[in-house]
């Protein structure tokens, strides 16, 4: 699977609930329409949380979520596009 192209990156690795979602929201607020934010997280709960947040929030769209590995640790990469 090819990852969407991102314009900004947010590193929330090592952080736990609710920080991945809250920091994603704060980062998105500083972006412009059509920017794509790449969020790198190690919290497995971020998969469900960021999907739910994107679904319930106006002005953002979840493009993709990719589960991978980084240094033996699970890495969850989320791609959020700003729509408005």
């Amino acid at each position: 699977m090819t990852a969407p192209e991102s314009t900004e990156t947010l590193d929330v690795t090592g952080l736990n609930c609710p920080l991945p979602v809250v920091k994603t929201k704060q980062a998105v607020d500083g972006l412009s329409p059509d920017d794509v934010l790449e969020v790198r997280a190690t919290d497995p709960g971020s998969v469900s949380d960021i999907a739910g947040w994107a679904d319930g929030t106006d002005g953002v769209e979840l493009l993709d979520q990719i589960e991978g590995e980084d240094g033996g640790e699970s890495l969850f990469t989320h791609y959020v596009r700003v729509t408005a």
Binding site: L15, N16, C17, P18, L19, V22, K25, Q26, W53, T57
Partner: protein, 201 residues
Amino acid sequence: MSTDAPEADASGDGASAGADGPDVAALAEQVEALRDEVESLAAADDGDAGRSMTIIATKGTLDMAYPPFILATTAAAFDWDVTVFHTFWGLDLLHREKSRELKLSAVGNPTMPIPNAVAALPGMDAMATWMMRRKIDDNGVATVGELVDLAVDTGVTLQGCQMTMDLMGYEADDLIDGVEAGVGAATALQHMADSDVQLLV
């Protein structure tokens, strides 16, 4: 809304049975108005934006400080309008010093690997608190102080109960910046009545 539909049906039936007359234009106008209303209701119902939540925070221990702030900051991320009303021990969560040194009780805490009789000994609360803080740190969980700052930054309204302030001898200056101090139960109830979600923690 449910009462609108039968009414609209009834007038519709009446007109078609009653005839053919000049009411058709008025009916068409009515139908158009109803369609606009349904569309605006559907639009308002789309997504979670515009929702609101009021949390009543009553507990001031390290463990019970988390639920209100985790939910409040997450709801703020959904663009919800969030108010947390802090009363009794919950007010300590907004106290400049006390919010930074919240404690956990070892007694009556079934997660402690020691009997209550031992947990009641001096120093055991400090140990339980230290263990919890270490776990919080090890797991990348925010500190209560960080969550309070985040709540203020994300526009959560933090309110301090005036009666509790009097009871505990707290001045407005004892509370962190950005707190709406000196509000009462009526204010809390008003916010609860206007909210989509109300929680007592």
